[in-house]
């Protein structure tokens, strides 16, 4: 028996492997990971579709993902908000342990109770009751702790929660049963107290499994701020913490670095990737005088920037504030279960108290009155209610996980069911986010080889797209990257260039995603690119429209690029040139019109909109902050599961309300019986078990729509 499996250590790297499904996949992934020198241990969990990697020293997550990609296994960084670490695993284990103890005790006590109900009398009955008490008391003390603690916490904060009636019912049932047993009475509720514990713990456990630790996307954004910057003092670069910077300082940013301040370029030419703020696919050129925002990445460099805003004033920090505000607004949603509990908990107490007082006045017997009150509490105890939501959510999120959608927030399904408007970001969400060469085959083989050789020398996304093509590389000399313009080299005695319009090509062009190649013969050729639609995008949008939803694009990219994608995807409503603030405003405005919005996005510029929408989804390739802000993560590549997820959510919302109805009907029938004193322990046991089981079966009935 393998009892010494390595436990997930705190510094383990967790990767999501959404597409693994068999032992061959497990083996490929583990072998590929273990073949690396910097991996001490790697274990794949097929049930959760995850890999736990124990690194030696510092290992880059992306390097591991590339290793797995080479082995043919799709890997993603695991969402940081998904339950992780050992302590949460232990909490789940502890709940399961309590569930097992409650189940064991409930079954044994039930066996003894069956004997009592079928006619055991006198000494035999008393003995059975005493044995039941001996089992029930320690079992409840152990298994019921979550409820007792929860009730205590609620009461000391002077509130009522679902735990209060539960704890009261369990304690009162045990107390009256002990009293009855001591007086050799007929009715004892030991079995009821235990079955209560059992069903409620089952609900708790399911709820626990679908709950993820809450983290703030705004904090993730703040983490993107650069801690150190290079300041130029008297012409000499000095490195220091960002906090020491002040407005009008000169800051040097080298190639690949992130800009720490808002500012104006004072020296140098560079390509700037500001997709995080604007959603633009292609980097823009920046020269002296150009405005530049904090958080942008300098692709080629270096740049000297004169700071106009530092610290809390930078656009990155303002974006984080925007997200924080949006996140606070989201908290308004009250889950169905909480709404039910708010109605339920006070009602139960009032009913039980009334029954107690009524019977006390009518019969004058405390013992009888207490018995009736206990029976009312047991009957009304929200067993079925406690299972109504988590059983459905577990079944539905399990079904969605198998399709490739990870639900991070348990009540996201409830909100998803009400969606009537779907807003997509363009770059990286509707499209793959990686450009592809369109007219490659029309270029001559000589031109191709020159293009490849030039592209290899650059890290510009368009160059990378060219470099992915296979073919011979021409033999170039004097290769150099000209920041902000392109790449240059010498080939057969001629200067060859690849780069932007006006440098390698004619002075103006038709616009769009393209670059120019000058092979030195005076006739530059254009290489055009397209950002391919994500797989399943068209199908998903058709299905969403067919389901009667309004579909929109909200992008920070240029109008031409957005319109092209909107047309290809079949979306009529498209907005381009949106800043992050515009996105949030638009979402808020739609919400004010009474719409319920699903936002699908992947970039930092979407983070605010993701947090502001009623429910949000991001692809697994999205940035950390965007994934944190989202309720759901798309694990696979295809968008096609999106409409299925909506249908599944609608079905599960229907199931939840059905479950509430079942629980209510059962209460309407059983409560009067309890109040007039006809609820024997047998009736309580039957009613409780049958309602809980009906609710669970209804939840499992399938949420396929």
């Amino acid at each position: 028996m393998d009892t010494d499996l390595p436990e997930a250590a705190p510094n383990d790297i967790l990767l999501s492997l959404p597409e693994i499904h068999c032992q061959i996949c497990i083996r490929n992934a583990e072998q590929a990971l273990l073949a690396r020198d910097d991996v001490a241990a790697a274990r794949v969990n097929l049930t959760l579709k995850r890999a736990y990697v124990t690194p030696v020293g510092n290992v880059d997550e992306n390097a591991l993902i590339e290793t797995l990609a080479d082995a043919g296994v799709l890997a993603r960084p695991l969402d940081p908000t998904v339950l992780r670490g050992t302590e949460t695993a232990r909490a789940g284990q502890a709940l399961l342990m309590r569930l097992a103890v409650a189940g064991f005790a409930a079954m044994n006590v039930m066996l003894l109770s069956v004997a009592v109900w079928s006619g055991a009398t006198d000494a035999t009955r008393d003995m059975f009751h005493w044995i039941s008490a001996a089992i029930a008391l320690p079992a409840v003390t152990f298994a019921g702790q979550p409820f007792f603690l929860g009730a205590w916490r609620a009461l000391s904060a002077r509130r009522l929660s679902m735990d209060v009636p539960i704890a009261l019912a369990i304690i009162l049932a045990l107390a009256t049963s002990l009293w009855e047993t001591a007086l050799s009475g007929h009715h004892a509720y030991f079995d009821a107290a235990l079955t209560l514990c059992f069903f409620l713990l089952a609900g708790r456990y399911l709820e626990f499994r679908t709950r993820a630790a809450a983290r703030s996307a705004a904090e993730e954004l703040t983490a993107l701020e650069v801690p150190r910057a290079t300041r130029i003092i008297g012409g000499v670069p000095v490195e220091g913490p960002v906090a020491e910077l002040s407005v009008s300082d000169l800051v040097l940013v080298r190639a690949g670095g992130r800009v720490p301040v808002d500012g104006i370029v004072s020296e140098g030419h560079a390509e700037i990737d500001r997709s995080f703020l604007t959603g633009e696919t292609i980097p823009v050129a920046a020269g002296p005088g150009a405005e530049i925002a904090a958080g942008a990445v300098v692709i080629s460099g270096p740049l000297t920037i004169r700071a106009t805003a530092v610290g809390r004033e930078t656009s990155l920090h303002r974006l984080a504030d925007l997200v924080a505000v949006a996140e606070a607004g989201r908290a308004n949603y009250t889950p169905l279960a909480d709404r039910a509990a708010a109605l339920y908990a006070p009602g139960v107490h009032i009913l039980a108290a009334l029954a107690f007082v009524g019977w006390l006045l009518w019969s004058g017997d405390v013992r009888v009155a207490l018995n009736i009150a206990a029976a009312v509490l047991i009957i009304t105890c929200p067993c079925a209610l406690g299972l109504a939501v988590p059983a459905v959510t577990t079944a539905a999120s399990g079904a969605l996980f198998r399709k490739g959608v990870l639900i991070k927030n348990a009540n996201a399904l409830e909100r998803l069911a009400m969606v009537d408007t779907v807003v997509f970001d363009k770059t990286g969400t509707l499209t793959e986010g990686a450009p592809e060469v369109v007219n490659w085959d029309t270029l001559g083989s000589q031109v191709q080889s020159v293009a490849l050789a030039l592209a290899d020398a650059s890290t510009h996304p368009l160059s990378k797209a060219i470099a992915r093509k296979s073919g011979n590389r021409a033999d170039l000399t004097d290769l150099r990257e000209v920041p902000g313009f392109g790449t240059e080299g010498r080939w057969q005695g001629r200067t060859v260039r690849i780069g932007r319009t006006g440098w390698a090509g004619p002075q103006d062009d038709a616009g769009g995603l393209m670059t120019w190649l000058d092979a030195g013969d005076g006739a530059p050729v254009a290489i055009t690119f397209t950002d391919r639609l994500r797989a399943g995008a068209v199908e998903a949008i058709d299905a969403l429209k067919a389901a009667g939803m309004r579909v929109e694009i909200l992008s920070g990219d240029r109008t031409a690029a957005v319109d092209e994608v909107a047309h290809a995807a079949g979306i009529d409503i498209a907005r381009a040139n949106c800043l992050p603030e515009d996105k949030v405003d638009h979402i808020t405005q739609l919400r004010n019109e009474g719409r319920t919005i699903l936002m699908v996005g992947d970039g930092l510029n979407d983070t605010g909109a993701l947090a502001a929408a009623d429910v949000s989804l991001s692809p697994a390739s999205a940035l950390d902050a965007a994934r944190v802000a989202s309720d759901m993560v798309l694990l696979g590549q295809s968008l096609e599961v999106l409409p299925q997820a909506v249908l599944c959510a609608r079905a599960s919302r229907r199931r939840i309300s059905e479950n509430f109805k079942i629980a209510t009907i059962y209460n309407i029938i059983a409560v009067p019986l309890a109040v007039i004193g006809l609820a024997t322990p047998l009736i309580a046991a039957l009613a409780m078990s049958s309602s809980s089981i009906t609710v669970s079966l209804n939840a499992l009935r399938g949420t396929r729509g």
């Binding site: 497990i26 794949v44 969990n45 097929l46 049930t47 399961l96 342990m97 097992a100 064991f104 089992i135």
Partner: protein
């Protein structure tokens, strides 16, 4: 009815054995990856010699 003196303890002990077995399985984390464990047995790598 004297038979109860044996049967009740016997039933409790049997049930208790089941509980202990479950807790043991839980503690040795056999429920962490039921699907993966079911698949791993199909791997032929360690058929001839145990995993080192």
């Amino acid at each position: 009815m004297n038979v109860l003196a044996y049967l009740i303890p016997v039933s409790l002990i049997l049930g208790g054995l089941g509980l202990v077995g479950f807790i043991y399985a839980l503690r040795s984390r056999q429920y962490e990856d039921p699907e993966g464990d079911a698949r791993r047995i199909l791997d032929e790598r360690w058929d001839d010699a145990p995993k080192p």
